[in-house]
Symmetry: C2
Subunit: 145 residues, 2 copies
DNA sequence: TATTGACTTAGAGTGAACTCTAAGTTGTAG
DNA sequence: CTACAACTTAGAGTTCACTCTAAGTCAATA
């Protein structure tokens, strides 16, 4: 068998700290982790898959509380798939919005970099934002909604 | 004149709290805000533009510390444009990487939603991840690097 | 004149998400 | 037999980024 992992192996596999893995269990993101004879946690592959999914929720900005709400649904309402779907759909929509904002902010940052390149090319130290302001106006005029 | 704003107006314009605007000044993200006769802060349009740019850095995941380093460069090395550019380029690269990770995580979340839709359509409560695992394998096989 | 409201300061408090510590148990290697 | 490494627990501590409080100043209004 030996397909079950120790907490350390899980930590290595996921990139979390051992502490964080225990913490996630304590706050209810993971449940019912099996124990070996001596009381040590043994993680099944399913546990790891679940943990990795939770990490994606976290990485996309879902709070521990919200992840907990989702985990609770999965544990306590095995027949209620709809609620879980709605929760994830709401999250997906937030993530998409966030992605758009990020992409826009990235654009502005790239514009600022171009501005610096322009300054370097022309040897000027700083025009106190005249060039930059023009750029910004362009941005807000037709590149943003 | 009246083109200079009170701290409250700045807060409204940027969506920050009045407290946060003062906090940003205290930790060195803003400097030299003018004062009116009675000692109240008066923000110039340039101050607001600068603040808005800082907010984009924050929104893309730059820490207060790093923003401070950037702000310090701008204040103390007006002739050294290159360092500022390098700092922003490094940040841009991190943001791009993060965007890719986010987009991928979003994909997986959407897959999970599809999985739930599938369960709902077929009336099954949960196959304990057989369908889902297949999906995941597909993902890791050819949709991810 | 009294109150209201917007501002000022220094510094204390908060919430999120870990992160670490201390004290103890267990299993193996020398 | 002893040392060591890996685990266990409860709970304390840390970091970040605000967020709020208390006490005070000042200008305008009732």
């Amino acid at each position: 068998m030996a397909r079950d992992l120790t907490i350390q192996q899980v930590a290595e596999a996921t990139g979390l700290s051992v502490h964080a893995v225990r913490y996630y269990e304590k706050v209810g993101l993971l449940a019912l982790i099996q124990r070996s004879a001596n009381g040590h946690r043994r993680y099944s592959p399913e546990d790891v898959v679940w943990l990795e999914f939770l990490m994606r929720l976290r990485a996309t900005g879902m709070s521990i509380q919200q992840v907990h709400a989702f985990a609770k649904l999965v544990r306590e309402q095995p027949t209620n798939v709809k609620e879980r779907r709605l929760l994830l759909e709401a999250h997906r929509d937030r993530v998409k919005q966030n992605l758009e904002k990020l992409a826009h902010n990235l654009q502005v940052i790239e514009l600022k970099i171009e501005h610096y390149q322009h300054l370097e090319a022309t040897g000027k130290s700083d025009l106190h934002c005249i060039f930059w302001q023009n750029y910004l106006e362009q941005m807000s005029d037709h590149k943003l909604h």
